[in-house]
Assembly symmetry: C2
Homo-oligomer: 390 residues x 2
Amino acid sequence: KSGKPLRLKKGFDPSAPDIHLGHVVGLRKLRKLQDLGHQVVLIVGDWTAQIGDPSGRSATRPMLSAEEVMANAETYMAQLFKVVDKEKTEVRWQTEWFGNFTLADVIRLTSRFTVAQILKRDDFAKRYEADQPIAVTELLYPLLQAYDSTVVEADVEFGGTDQRFNNLLGRELQQMVGQRPQQVMLVPILVGTDGVQKMSKSLGNYIGVDEPPDDMYGKAMSISDDHIVNYFELLTDVPEEELGAFRSEMRQGSTNPMDLKKRLSRDLVSQFHGEREADEAQGHFEQVIQRREAPQDMPQLEISFGAPASGPNSDVVAVDGGGEIKVNVVKLVVQAGFAASSGEARRLLQQGAVQVAGRRLTADDVVVPVTPGTTLRVGNRRFIRIVDSG
Amino acid sequence: KSGKPLRLKKGFDPSAPDIHLGHVVGLRKLRKLQDLGHQVVLIVGDWTAQIGDPSGRSATRPMLSAEEVMANAETYMAQLFKVVDKEKTEVRWQTEWFGNFTLADVIRLTSRFTVAQILKRDDFAKRYEADQPIAVTELLYPLLQAYDSTVVEADVEFGGTDQRFNNLLGRELQQMVGQRPQQVMLVPILVGTDGVQKMSKSLGNYIGVDEPPDDMYGKAMSISDDHIVNYFELLTDVPEEELGAFRSEMRQGSTNPMDLKKRLSRDLVSQFHGEREADEAQGHFEQVIQRREAPQDMPQLEISFGAPASGPNSDVVAVDGGGEIKVNVVKLVVQAGFAASSGEARRLLQQGAVQVAGRRLTADDVVVPVTPGTTLRVGNRRFIRIVDSG
């Protein structure tokens, strides 16, 4: 109202540098406010990161090295500035103030808050009730975050609803030191691709902004029909009146949800990768998923058919007495990066998600023959081609 | 057992530099161990002092200035070394390690303990239960004290029973960093002059080692008969067999407790002031208290009888119309240092504890006439003589 640009504080945890669409919802709001002339202040939480995340899943983490923080911050900002305007962003590292924070500073800060006050935070209260350990260090987390607000003199702090408590503490501390207390802007929650829970990396129901175009397109196509319009609303510039039309078409069944989803997926891929990539991703999707064809290009896995026991990826190979080359599918799926562990690979096999040379395998098909050119397929979208390394 | 001298850690809170007989009980134990060849490590708690005392009466205190800490440490050590052997004492200031303590150090230290663990400490538990505020800072207190033990590699920590929890935390931290955990030596508690509660400055039932001989003697004479032998045991070198004799004489009523108390009081005064002072204090006691005479020497308060309204202590003077000089007794008692406030002085007056010129005053006698040489007496032992400043 005063015409003075607002300082919009946004924290970043460098132990989790990847941005997914759940974060993008808030970042888009920041961008809109930048376009109105306001200033984003990005806080690189290199100190809070080592304490543990606010939801307290992990107690304390090893301190990230300066190099790791730097690398993660680079990764994060490369993604962030796909949405947020770099020119109107001030980047501040907590090290600037916490690097020289003394015990006297800690004492001054901690004397302003009571244990009971901090233990009221939802997750702390639950853990304390349940006799789950809370490290003394964890009580410092919200205090340090609050301190950040005083240093950068934030007018508004952005955060998910799980940040509500921490943000309010920032308000309180600002008042104590004679600053105008920050407003708190809680970002709407985006439901993940499972259609049930909040999008979150740890739940595996996320779409990362750095995912390849095909994956991003495919994942966006997998969201449930119920959430299509919500995604449009929170993640695209489709105007409100058109959203209204979408809603009524969906309600009346006068549109094919698949068409709307394709438009959404195309929109998202072009935002984060570009128009051409969006076209290609759509083409790939239609060919591979809708028409169930193998894609034009797929990654290759080399096996030396001449000297299988000593060539590349020899650990996935089992040579038959008759000279036939076989592969251990469990190992192959892991090797291809389609499963994180043998256990997961075995489950995929049991679920019938694995095909070799177009044949759907069963739990018994662990060792199967291959020839140069054989394709391995896991699920709908993941392919790899076995080639002879010679 | 190993023949290696033990390191005996003793903390000192520089916000409370005065030593009373309750402390002396432990200091005598330290001295005995020094005489056996062990080493005392005195920790000047210039950092913990600012957080608040472990019993949590006060939340946080303003940080003492370096000068105040220095002055208090001098006061303390002048008293301490009346009991403890200076030559076998290593003095360490917390500033040595906490002066450069970083936020990273705080995080490392606090990550080793849980909130629940610290809140188990008796006084915290009670305050938390009763919804009384506990500053986050206060949780740091026992951790800093524990850290001290690791720095000085203490083998034994001395402390009152209220220090039990903090000392055990020190053991735990020492084990975590690979040191042999310290033993904890809890010092027996000395009952105060009220005969009921632990001797403590805040309860006013203490005898300070720096009190003038007459006061020390008089206060020691005021202890109840039940505790005489206990005082001998904890505070003097009277051998065990003689203590046994005292006990049976007391039980059989074959001794006058007053005689035993005189011996005790004499012993104490000579320990802290010397033989001659002990003789004089005993003489003073017998004259003033037992025979109810005024002492030979007493402090003086100057009033200018010639120009009462402008001379020294003119604020206690009320000049009568007839030229008679009167004093405001309430103000005079405060001025003489016999009461901390007008309220307390008024209470003394109401209780009949105040005499002027040998006459016991009542609550109505606030303004009474005086002449040069008039004595003011409060209670049994406190006197002041009004003199003419000319």
